[in-house]
């Protein structure tokens, strides 16, 4: 009993120590940003962006790292208008429609003229800050002749396996679902059935699928065109490559927005503008491993020249996605649910 008391004391003390620093500097305004956790990780864009923005904003930038874009939106739904967030960074266009429906967001007030994203998404509430094309990434040591097109992958004999993600639980999974839908429309279900013999497994998230690739368990995985850049830059390895599909690649655009209930509206707007400034755009490619949505201050690292540049971008507008997501997921389940 005594040891229990002591340990709860220790935990209490640890908890106080952990939350203590947050209350220290209250004189400056604090801008609270909800984002996904890889954004705030030591190696993510968060620390550098915080440093740069704080240099002349006269404020403290506070990141809250949640699991992913879906988790951020759900957190806002749970909190409603009592949310502490001033800004949200890390929704993607597929969530935009639902996010607007919460009524929690205010028009950005930011001039998005410098932004150019494939697919042409543009919005007065959400500001695109980076994007990436979905792509099949393969292990060139295992696979000497990868399928040259999505069609070749779908109509393959099933000897070349791919791991994909589940649209019910993950963003890339939903991306692949939309990719097939954008390309094949009503034939998508049949195409999924054809593809199924090449699908080794469907994982709950990106980490599991990519783990299968790097483990050597599967030669292909659904990821991004930018994935090889990580291996090129951080590991000096060109083993993992993306395949350019002539049919086109579906694009994921990541957006940021500010909350209507924020007490620091001007500061929030300033932060959104900062996100698409050359200074901030410079940080994103090699920390968030996505393509910059606006001009960078310096040219992209050489490794980005080696990446697949899709000739054609596929994109479905947020309203269509929001309206059909459930039905399309059911169709997918039906096609693959053996």
């Amino acid at each position: 009993m005594r040891s229990m008391f002591l340990s709860s004391l220790a935990l209490g003390a640890a908890a106080t120590a952990l939350v203590g620093p947050a209350t220290a500097a209250e004189t400056k305004p604090t801008l609270t940003v909800y984002t996904y956790e890889s954004f705030v990780a030591d190696w993510g864009p968060g620390p550098q962006i915080k440093k740069d923005f704080e240099r002349d904003c006269g404020c403290t930038l506070d990141f809250v790292g949640l699991e992913d874009g879906v988790a951020i939106l759900n957190r806002l739904k749970l909190e409603g208008d009592t949310t502490k967030a001033d800004v949200v960074v890390g929704l993607d266009t597929n969530l935009v429609s639902e996010a607007k429906a919460t009524g929690l967001f205010a028009p950005s007030g930011v001039d998005t003229a410098p932004v150019t994203v494939p697919g042409g998404f543009s919005d007065d509430v959400f500001v695109p800050y980076d994007y990436g094309w979905f792509a099949v990434v393969y292990d060139s040591e295992q696979l000497k002749n990868p399928p040259a097109s999505l069609d070749a992958l779908i109509s393959g004999d099933g000897s070349q396996k791919i791991a994909i993600e589940d649209p019910r639980t993950s963003t890339p999974g939903l991306g692949m679902l939309l990719w097939m839908k954008a390309l094949y429309g009503d034939d998508a279900a049949q195409k999924w059935k054809d593809l199924s013999k090449s699908i080794l497994t469907v994982t709950p998230g990106w980490s599991e699928a990519y783990g299968l690739l790097t483990k050597g368990e599967v030669p292909m995985v659904l990821s991004y065109t930018t994935s090889p850049a990580y291996h090129l830059i951080e590991e000096k390895s060109d083993r993992y490559k993306a395949i350019a599909f002539p049919e086109g690649h579906y694009v994921q655009v990541e957006v940021a927005g500010r909350l209507a209930g924020s007490a620091h509206g001007d500061l929030a707007q300033r932060f959104l503008a900062f996100l698409i400034s050359p200074e901030a755009q410079d940080i994103l490619p090699t920390t968030n491993w996505m393509m910059p949505a606006a001009k960078t201050a310096s040219p992209l690292p050489a490794a980005f020249d080696q990446l697949v540049k899709p000739e054609k971008t596929l994109f479905l507008d947020p309203e269509t996605v929001a309206k059909n997501r459930r039905a399309w997921t059911d169709e997918w389940l039906e096609a693959l649910g053996r």
């Binding site: 220790a10 908890a15 589940d166 497994t201 459930r326």
Partner: protein
Amino acid sequence: MTRSGDRAARLALGLAALLFLALFLGGALAALVFQAGTALSFANLLGDAYLRRVALFTLEQAALSTLLSLGAGLPLALALHRTRFFGRGMVLRLFLLPQALPVLVGALAILSVWGRAGVVSQAGAALGLPPLDIYGLPGILIAHVFFNMPLAARLMVSALDEVPAESWKLAGQLSLGPVTTFRVVEWPAIRKAIPGAASLVFMLCVTSFTLVLTLGGGPGATTLEVAIYQALRYDFDPARAVAVALIQLVLTGLVLLAMLRFGGREAGGFSLGRAATRHDRPSPLMHGASLAVVALGVLFVLSPLAAVLIDGLKADLARLAMERAVQQAALTSALVAGAAAMLSLALSLFLLLARQSVLSASVGKRGQPNRERRLLATTFELSGSLTMVVPAVVVGAGWFLLLRRITDVFSAAPFIVVATNAVMAMPFIVRILSPALAASAARHDRLAQSIGLYGLARLRHVEWPALRRPLALSLAFAGAFSLGDLGAVALYGNQDFMTLPFLLLQRMGSYRTADAAGLALLLGALCLALMMIAERGVDAASGKDGRP
């Protein structure tokens, strides 16, 4: 303290623990339903063909996994008990390790052995065989057996350890053959452990999520836990999430009740696996067979763990260990695991003491406890056994809603995570302590009553000596379980409150596979260290006044 005072105190503590569970779990569910603003509609769910299929698959895979885990665990437990070999203690310890590993690490480790590029496939390729394809039900079953068969074996070994020395002596003197020994001595002991082991494994498999999706090969393999997660995430339909969670709870509860009824009243228990002296002399053939079974079982369990070790050693361990984030996460994990284990222990103990007190209330009056008492006793036991089935993500979301009205959820996060982990680990502890408590009650109840030993004095002289060993083991267990847990932490998004498994998944999610492998190894080492500290502590304590 008087006899009735003692009973009242025990009952009060038990009811308090029950109330805490009801409020903690029920409060979370209620908050989510309230937030949704819609009534729960079970009629809709029951008519949902997708959900019906998912429920059926959940039960089917869990039942098969349980059957296989126990079926393989039985011969392994017998063989482990019959043979003595160098490193047996370590093997029994390593058998608990899979529980502490994040599931994703376990899944990749299993694939190192059984995957298309795994050791077995490579050996097959040398013989010109095609690579193994385990994706689908086989993959799910292999993984569940890897995680749970060692658990079942461990439970059965401890049941065998509880066989009194006289029985072995008698079996030796009568020169009973192995078959008769099994029938007369071993099976009756193991049989008592089966309901507890089976229900525990069943629950762990019902709530399986990542393993089922990753190794299941496609959406045909989906569990209710996936449906709950789906409802709470993309569909953001808290009412549906709660309803599916309740369905999962009821289905599992029914299966558990059936197991309890079928298998007799006592839940099985773990023990430290101390060797009992056996007097039977197995023939060389039997001895050889035992050794072979042990070798196979140990190979099956340890080979994926070896993969974790090998991958982990390839990582830059020195750099990782020096990272501030890693050190802080390790400390947080250890604190959370320690606190969760303590809380879990206290709650379980209150429930079990109350249960025992209710059950033995009528012993003095001769005859069986009456119906109401049995019902109350079952409530105490079952409530402590079922907590694992309420998804941590649902509990976390519910408490988030409740707390944000009254306090800063960031500062509350550590407490919610500890409480959730503690409640989730209760089924392990209940099964460890329950049999020890029952045995102690059977042995000492009358004596204690006749000499008027009640209250704290009774706790010190009757329960404490009998419980000391299982108590420490259950602490290690709950700690290990909590160490590997991820469910509750993720929701709060507090950068200053990062556990080791969370850090591991973060690295994994940012291409840093080698770091993740290194962290898995560190996590495993931390868990083993925890177990050994617990055992050493117990040995030191029981060295002074021994076991009753």
